[in-house]
């Protein structure tokens, strides 16, 4: 992978009045990398993305896009940015073609190249047949596509997408994911999302932000290595035995009935009891028909880092008040 740093964020802080939105956020994104930006609502994801794009100004810290500082050389830096905010920035009284033309010119595409750029970005986003439609008549999914088309029209080095797949149907989501993988070949992509599986299948790196601070910055590979250690499985049985019988199996620490008739079985650390459980199920004729390995590493980490923290701070918050 090319090691050129395209986005460099250093010690970014931003306040809304007294309220802290983000504090001391630093990270780099390399060329060809897709960075997944996670965090609960109100954690500062959108604020960070808007600062990187120059929509908001930071109180402290610096942002460099392809080597240009966003405050000192905003024009140069912004030429390399494609940004899709949470709500796509569309003029609903223009047609798709008119809008993309305007967006492309705003982003600095020369007059002679604009028609081709519009055509390519429409093609990439599946908008070939919608060019003459008014944006206000488009469905939400198509509006989202126009939003993405506007962000990639000038084929910028850095593409920043705030919840790009929200409001899309499953097929469209798959198309957009393929598009992002294609884009990431020679661009940097930052995308924020609430869908953890999206991050797992798309991103090279994960950044979790909570209450304005980065709580995790890891390569996806590292996380997946960790998740090879299975600490629990979920099974479904037609003739479930008493829970005690399950506990007798070697390596099982605890078992509990889960939602949807699933049994969640937690293992004693470092022991994988999956084989033993399956053997026993066959021998005792429990009717095992479903087995889910613990595939929720990112989700577990996310919950621990965000909501776990929240509870703690809320507790301290209440004691403070008292």
């Amino acid at each position: 992978m090319d090691n050129e740093i395209l986005i460099s964020v250093q010690e970014l802080s931003r306040f809304y009045g007294e309220q802290r939105a983000i504090e001391n956020v630093s990270f780099n994104v390399h060329r060809g990398e897709i960075l997944g930006f996670l965090g609960p609502n109100g954690a500062g994801k959108s604020t960070t993305m808007q600062i990187i794009c120059g929509v908001l100004a930071a109180n402290h810290g610096s942002v460099k896009i392809a080597g240009y500082d966003i405050n000192e050389a905003p024009r140069k830096a912004k030429e390399h940015i494609g940004f899709l905010p949470e709500q796509p920035p569309l003029y609903d009284d223009l047609t798709v073609d008119e809008y993309l033309n305007y967006a492309g010119k705003l982003r600095g595409i020369k007059k002679v190249a604009i028609a081709k750029a519009v055509k390519i970005s429409k093609q990439r986003c599946g908008l070939e047949n919608s060019g003459s439609r008014l944006i206000q008549n488009l469905s939400k999914g198509y509006k989202q596509r126009v939003g993405i088309a506007q962000a990639i029209i000038h084929s910028p080095a850095v593409i920043i997408l705030d919840e790009p797949t929200s409001g899309l149907d499953p097929l469209q989501i798959r198309e957009i994911r393929e598009l992002m993988l294609e884009l990431a070949e020679d661009h940097s992509v930052i995308l924020s999302t609430h869908i953890l599986s999206e991050v797992q299948s798309l991103c090279d790196r994960v950044l979790i932000i909570n209450q304005g601070k980065i709580v995790l910055d890891k390569a996806m590979k590292e996380l997946q290595n960790n998740s090879d250690k299975i600490d629990h499985i979920e099974i479904a049985l037609r003739n479930p035995p008493a829970l005690e019988e399950l506990l007798n199996i070697e390596g099982v620490a605890s078992a509990e009935s889960n939602i949807k008739d699933m049994l969640r079985i937690n293992f004693i650390p470092d022991i994988d009891a999956t084989d033993a459980i399956v053997e026993k199920a066959v021998a005792e004729n429990w009717g095992l028909y479903k087995l889910n390995p613990s595939d929720t590493s990112l989700e577990t980490i996310f919950m621990q880092l965000t909501y776990g923290d929240n509870e703690q701070t809320q507790e301290t918050g209440t004691t403070d008040n008292e």
Binding site: G17, Q50, C53, G54, V55, L56, A57, N59, P74, R75, K76, K78, E79, I81, F83, P85, Q87, P88, P89, L90, Y91, D92, D93, L94, E98, Y102, A103, K105, L106, R107, G108, Q150
Partner: protein, 247 residues
């Protein structure tokens, strides 16, 4: 410069996509046509012998045009920036290689071009008199320049107010309030001392316009309008810049 023109053309294109621009053009034209006819028939009365055609009909119509523009202008400027915020397109503009100054100047230019178009349309009526008689073209030019300067200062004021408001309707009503206040502010000074009266009457948008209408092309009046425009353009730039930093 390219960016300023780009913003201005987009503004104009979107203005003419909405029925608002067409309706405003039609209404203004219709109302002024009535006034033009009334002024003209008044001039044709034997009683008005000895008065000038240009002064009575043309300047009279431009005078009324100023008032109508004052009523209509807030409706045109109210959506300049409020709508960019509502549609979130302000983020597209901020993340593009374009300065806030270019954005504000582009919006102002777009509005001014629209007013030029409007003035050209209403000037067709007095121009039709040229087929039958002679007019004082110098006085008309001064009046026309005055009306253009007046409306472009309306645009700058409206632009600033749309940068500080969230809703188009609040922008419209506030702009109307400010314009009307600046129009009649000379009345405020009538009962006070001479110096205060002079200040109030200097601030009045109306007074400088009247002297231009009378054919007195005083550079101080021209500078007054240019200053008003520049002042409110600067305020808009500062306001948008502050919004990025503190908003």
């Amino acid at each position: 410069m390219n960016n300023i023109i780009l913003i201005a053309t987009n503004e104009l294109r979107r203005l003419f996509k909405s029925p608002l621009a067409w309706i405003i053009l039609a209404t203004v034209q219709f109302l002024l046509a009535i006034f033009f006819y009334l002024l003209l028939s008044q001039y044709m009365q034997p009683a008005s012998a000895g008065t000038g055609l240009t002064e009575v009909v043309v300047s009279g119509m431009y005078q009324i045009a100023g008032v109508i523009m004052l009523l209509v202008s807030p409706l045109l400027t109210m959506r300049l920036l409020t709508e960019e915020r509502r549609l979130n397109t302000i983020k597209l503009l901020y993340s593009s290689p374009l300065s806030i100054t270019e954005l504000v100047l582009g919006k102002y230019l777009g509005m001014t071009v629209f007013y030029c178009l409007m003035l050209a349309m209403i000037s067709l009526m007095p121009a039709s008199l040229l087929f039958g008689t002679q007019l004082d073209l110098g006085q008309i030019a001064a009046g026309l320049i005055g009306l253009l300067l007046l409306t472009s200062s309306f645009a700058a004021i409206g632009l600033f107010i749309s940068s500080i408001t969230k809703q188009p309707s609040t922008a419209a009503i506030s702009t109307f309030g400010v314009l009307f206040l600046l129009w009649i502010i000379n009345i405020a000074g009538t009962n006070s001392s001479e110096n205060t009266a002079a200040i109030f009457s200097y601030l009045s948008l109306l007074k400088h316009y009247t002297s231009l209408l009378n054919g007195v092309f005083n550079s101080a009046d021209v500078l007054f309008y240019i200053f008003v425009s520049l002042f409110f353009i600067l305020l808009s730039i500062w306001r948008l810049d502050a919004e990025r930093t503190y908003g």
